[in-house]
């Protein structure tokens, strides 16, 4: 019985450590450069991939809804960045090729706290890319938060 208690106590301790480790999620102010450097690691082949929804205004609207639902929690409602995720308004992101952003979305930056988003179907990831690239135009910035 005592052995079981020791096992359970150990497991709970590890669980608490895991809770605390979430605090190691990206601190964007200190690691800003290295976080954006991930864009530079995108393979050339992925960079040249074209967005099938470029010039599609509906894709930007749909991407905005997806952003509010999946991304705003970490990157901020207006993609301005928060403690858990960097700003996506900076030139490193806005100047990046659509294919590079798509690749980052697909693969995440797992070691730095950004999860893999390949669970979103490919068209939805491209819609997100459309929205992110549209952020150069402030008119597209407002993102509704409320659900119907």
């Amino acid at each position: 019985m005592r052995a079981r208690l020791v096992i359970i106590a150990s497991l709970l301790f590890i669980q608490l450590v895991s809770f605390a480790s979430a605090q190691n999620a990206p601190d964007t102010s200190k690691k800003k450069d290295s976080i954006y450097a991930e864009i530079g690691k995108v393979p050339d082949k992925a960079r040249t991939t074209q967005n099938p929804f470029r010039n599609d205004p509906e894709a930007i609207v749909a991407g905005g809804i997806l952003f509010a639902r999946h991304c705003a929690e970490c990157h901020g409602r207006k993609a301005e960045g928060r403690k858990r995720g960097p700003s996506l308004l900076v030139s490193d992101v806005q100047r990046a090729e659509p294919g590079a952003i798509f690749w980052i979305l697909t693969n995440g930056v797992v070691r730095r706290g950004m999860p893999v988003w390949s669970k979103l179907p490919e068209p939805q990831r491209w819609q997100l890319v459309s929205f992110l690239k549209s952020l150069r135009n402030p008119a597209s910035l407002p993102v509704e938060e409320s659900a119907p």
């Binding site: 079981r4 096992i7 359970i8 497991l11 590890i14 669980q15 608490l16 895991s18 809770f19 605390a20 480790s21 979430a22 605090q23 190691n24 999620a25 509906e58 894709a59 609207v61 749909a62 991407g63 809804i65 997806l66 639902r69 999946h70 991304c71 705003a72 929690e73 403690k83 858990r84 697909t106 693969n107 995440g108 930056v109 797992v110 070691r111 730095r112 706290g113 950004m114 999860p115 893999v116 390949s118 669970k119 979103l120 179907p121 490919e122 068209p123 939805q124 819609q127 509704e144 938060e145 659900a147 119907p148």
Partner: protein, 296 residues
């Protein structure tokens, strides 16, 4: 009603209130009940889930088994999960049946055609546990026939490992789980499997906010069963199930799942009806971190 079960219900109620209260969070959950894919919980988020299984039983009374899951994204490559299990056997009793503590690790940095995840779980449960979250070894329907009074006397401490392999291609997810479990008493390794595939009903998101848009529904099927043990590996004296699955990811951050399962041989329960409801709590890790640091 046993006091342990009252505590169980109180805990569930308390934590469910916690789930209802805060947060606007992401929500794109797969529809599987048994099979795992390679997607882990988002770092710092806690997902609270409730699942039910209604099962037929020959001979004996049908049952309703239920469990709560508390799934926490420790990092983008590590998810930890705590389970609390219970069951009601109709015409018998309602009892708390065990605790499980699970960890999933993603070893690879990038997405590949096949993505592995390592799964390690410790279970402390009684033989009355009927949630059928996995089927292993020579688990068969008749194992669950005795009364709760008899089954709850037997307790197991078990380590369960899984190799999760999962691929996503053109919206389709294909997941394969290979299971090996060992009771920490002197028992042989037991094996099992789970296979699943699923796809959203639409791949492109709508430009309108909607609950009933097809992209919010993910449908598929899963199949799972036992593969015997170290000394008698194979399909004889094992049970197997096939279950269509459907998930509805609501824009309000709730996910509903339903899955009618059908036994594929005489050693299987004839019918299992499962459903689940879940919600994510955003920033739970930060809350705990601040609390531990005392600077809340």
């Amino acid at each position: 009603m046993p006091s342990t079960f009252t505590s169980f219900l109180a805990t569930i109620s308390l934590l469910f209130c916690l789930a209802i209260a805060p947060a606007k969070v992401q929500c794109q959950e797969n529809p599987y009940i048994v099979t795992y894919d390679h997607y882990l919980e988002e770092p710092g988020n806690l997902e609270i889930e409730y699942f039910s299984t209604f099962g037929t039983q020959r001979p004996g009374n049908n049952f309703h088994a239920f469990w709560m899951e508390f799934e926490y994204g420790a990092t983008a490559w590590w998810t930890a999960e705590l389970y609390l299990d219970g069951q009601t056997t109709f015409g018998d009793s309602t009892i708390f049946t065990g605790v499980r503590w699970e960890n999933r690790f993603r070893p690879l940095k990038y997405e590949h055609f096949i993505n592995p995840v390592i799964y390690v779980e410790y279970e402390h449960k009684s033989a009355a546990d009927k949630i059928l979250k996995e089927v292993e070894g020579h688990d068969v329907e008749s194992d669950y026939a005795p009364s709760n009074a008899i089954l709850r006397k037997e307790h197991n401490n078990e380590i369960e490992t899984k190799l999760i392999l999962s691929s996503t291609y053109r919206g389709w997810n294909f997941s394969e789980n290979i299971l090996a479990a060992k009771d920490l008493s002197n028992a042989p390794w037991e094996f099992g499997y789970a296979l699943g595939f699923s796809r959203p009903l639409a791949l492109k998101a709508s430009a309108k906010r909607c609950s009933l848009c097809p992209q919010n529904f993910i449908a598929g099927a899963e199949m799972y069963g036992g593969l015997g043990d170290r000394y008698s590996f194979g399909l004889h004296d094992t049970s197997h199930y096939l279950a269509p699955v459907l998930a509805w990811n609501l824009p309000s951050d709730w996910t509903l799942r339903i899955s009618p399962g059908f036994g594929l041989n005489d050693d299987s329960h004839r019918f299992l009806l499962r459903f689940g409801i879940s919600r994510e709590v955003s920033g739970f890790g930060s809350l705990i971190g601040n609390f531990l640091k005392g600077n809340q």
